[in-house]
């Protein structure tokens, strides 16, 4: 408890320093969150170049909007939300070419993906990155970030049903990838 309050105080100082334009504070804030947020970007982006762009864009937004952080909830959660929004923004820009829409609204049976739990993180990332951007975004938002279908529908301007069906289809694709992977290993 005491450690946590000390950490909060130093975080407040860090935020104040960044708002005042202190380069040391800015660097420290970047170092504190860069690895975590790069992980987020890598999950949403299809490749490292896009992930680099998202990380850069996200940090610029964080620094430019620090004054808006009111201390409600954790600072890391606030920063993470900015990065997720940045990723979604990027997704929306390319949404037309991703072909995500109401046509896929029929509910698909949810396949079990327990096999995923056995994989190492890097392997997981490789498999997830094989998903189409639409499937990947919904999978990340629902499975990893923990948003509800209602929230996802609002974020992506789609219906709740579409969100559900897209997730089921994403899981189906992942299952196929995993089956192929394990078949190759067994051979």
């Amino acid at each position: 408890m005491n450690d946590q309050s000390n950490h909060t105080v130093s975080e407040n100082d860090l935020i104040t320093g960044c708002i005042e334009g202190n380069p040391k504070s800015q660097r420290e804030l970047y170092d504190r969150f860069a690895s975590k947020m790069y992980g987020v970007c890598l999950r949403y982006a299809g490749n490292t170049n896009d992930a680099n762009d998202l990380l850069q864009e996200g940090f610029v937004k964080v620094f430019n909007n620090l004054e808006k952080f009111r201390g409600e909830g954790s600072f890391e959660g606030w920063v993470r939300r900015i990065f997720i929004n940045t990723c979604i923004e990027q997704f929306r820009k390319k949404a037309k070419s991703y072909n995500i829409g109401e046509a896929h609204e029929n509910i698909v049976e949810d396949p079990g993906l327990d096999a995923l739990d056995t994989l190492a993180v890097k392997d997981l990332l490789k498999i997830i990155n094989q998903l189409s951007p639409g499937y990947k975004t919904i999978f990340n938002l629902y499975v990893v970030e923990g948003y509800s279908h209602k929230e996802i529908a609002e974020m992506l301007n789609i219906s709740e049903g579409t969100s559900k069906s897209q997730l089921a289809r994403a899981k189906g694709v992942l299952k196929n990838i995993l089956e192929t992977k394990f078949k190759n290993i067994n051979k």
């Binding site: 380069p23 970047y30 990893v144």
Partner: protein, 192 residues
Amino acid sequence: MKTVKEKLYNYEQQPPDKIWVTVRNRISGAKTIEFKPRRKRIRIIALSSAAAAIIALVIISTVFKTNPIKNPLNPAQTTKILSPRQKEIMVKNYQALESIIKAPENKKLVTSREVSHSEDLKYITISGPEGEPVKISPKVATLIISADGENPPKPVWNQKINKWQHIMLTNNITPTSGNLIDIIQKASNTIE
């Protein structure tokens, strides 16, 4: 064993160093950019003001060139302290004055005729240098115009004065109070 959610949510990877350099430049660049539009705006305002001033000068000069003030002595234009009624009288008086000055015929006759149209039979009222009303005798009208360099010369008084000068210079009689009548008499004979 950690779930997919836990593994992916907490996944961390060190980004390339170049990203911080770009972020830092963009943050500091953003602060600089904030001032640029303001400077640009100030420059635009200054240039717009200068352009507006030049345009205003051109318009004013064009207006004055095409519509010059024909009668700077016009009381209706110069007098601000008078009532509308007084202004009207002055305009009439001014017209009378102008017709007296410009009339090629006998000034005395014209004066009596023109002034009869005026409100004041003895005097005409003109606008003074400060716009104040000044009553003058119609006879003085030609003198006023003689003093005005912009108006064409009015020879009436000039001729009279020149003749008086000539008489006085050429006459052998010493002008005293006793023989001044003689000079006037001689001048009258010369004019006739």
